[in-house]
Amino acid sequence: MIAEFHDYIGSRHDWLSDLKPYQRGLIERLQDGRDVDQVIEAWFESFRGASNTVHFGTGGGFRPYYDRFLHQLHDLFCSDSSFIEERAEILRQVKAGQSTFATSVALVVAPHLEASAPVLAPAIALVMTVIGKAGLNAWCAEQVARGRGTGNSKPDSG
């Protein structure tokens, strides 16, 4: 099943098309002068809010999710012992046209990050763009090298 999941990832190129128009617009404006990794970081940093402004909410708040976020994505995309049922469900939803890949992945990983899916979907689409350029195997290996994930990723035999 993970091979089928990897085949799907390898077949796609335009991951930002998974996003809604306003999300694409936000990402495209963040791309100005940034590479993809920097755009992902800028997306999470933007939660800190506008410059020189203190908020008048009483709760909520912001916690950096970047490393934990990539850890979860590594386990979903690269670990053949994690998220087995979830990968099957993601493929089912996407092939049935019920959801986009980024949204389905966001719904899977969001509970593990105590985050809401709409917050994560754009960042996921960006990560897919990185994977599309580097190749999934290389991306998986890099995450392990950076100390993310469970470290038991299985090379894709093709």
Binding site: F47, T53, G60, A115
Partner: protein, 221 residues
């Protein structure tokens, strides 16, 4: 639930206190306002990045009448985040129940106002003290400013009003009921201080208040 009235009263009928469940009961977070149907708008920092189920609390009593400040009983409905825009600090919530909320106003923009124009804001100040009182504040536009977030310069207005915790996410309207902005916070060099005296950040005193253009909500719909 329908508003049934026009102008400010109509909006007041569809303005809520956002809260989440906590160990001590409902924890107030800020203000939200109806967009029509099951959609509600607020500031993203009010709800945060978390996926917790949210509660939208209704004002106690008719806004044109007396709101009971005593007692622990409130009426509320549940909602969840369905759209998030961290660059503009905005979020859209969806009500869990199938209620048809009709609002008589439209979403505008800070382009629709000029310095000196009168505005009306609605919100729930002092919610950090447990107060649940929908409060109207009349103020003027002090200035129109661009505030930066990750290199993006976003339209805001400076409002000549002193805001309190709980008012973030509230609507800011022209006299014709058009929502032109959403309250998000106050000017604080460096983003605020690191001390709190009596629950107040001194860096936020002597403040001017910021509201972001409501046009960014329209882009999310």
């Amino acid at each position: 639930m329908t508003s049934g009235v026009s102008g400010v009263s109509g909006v007041a009928a569809t303005c809520y206190l956002v809260a989440r469940s906590g160990p001590g009961g409902l924890e107030p977070l800020g203000t939200a306002f109806a967009l029509g149907g099951r959609r509600v708008a607020t500031a993203l920092h009010v709800v945060g990045v978390g996926a917790q189920e949210l509660q939208l609390i209704f004002a106690r009593g008719d806004f044109q009448g007396y709101q009971d400040t005593n007692g622990n009983q409130v009426n509320f409905t549940t909602a969840k985040v369905v759209e998030a825009d961290p660059v503009h600090d905005l979020a859209i919530l969806e009500l869990a129940q199938n209620v048809d909320v009709t609002v008589p106003w439209t979403l505008g923009s800070t382009d629709d106002v000029s310095p000196g124009d009168w505005l009306v804001s609605l919100g729930f100040p002092h919610t950090d003290s447990g107060r649940v009182v929908l409060t109207r504040q009349d103020a003027t536009v002090g200035a129109k400013v661009l505030l930066e977030n990750q290199g993006q310069k976003n339209k805001h207005i400076v409002i000549n009003a002193l805001l309190r915790p709980g008012q973030s996410g509230g609507p800011v309207m022209k006299g014709d009921g058009r929502v032109v902005a959403v309250m998000v916070g106050a000017y604080a060099p460096g983003g605020g201080g690191f001390i709190s005296i009596g629950g107040v950040d001194p860096a936020a005193l002597h403040q001017t208040s910021h509201a972001i253009s409501a046009e960014y909500i329209s882009e999310m719909l």
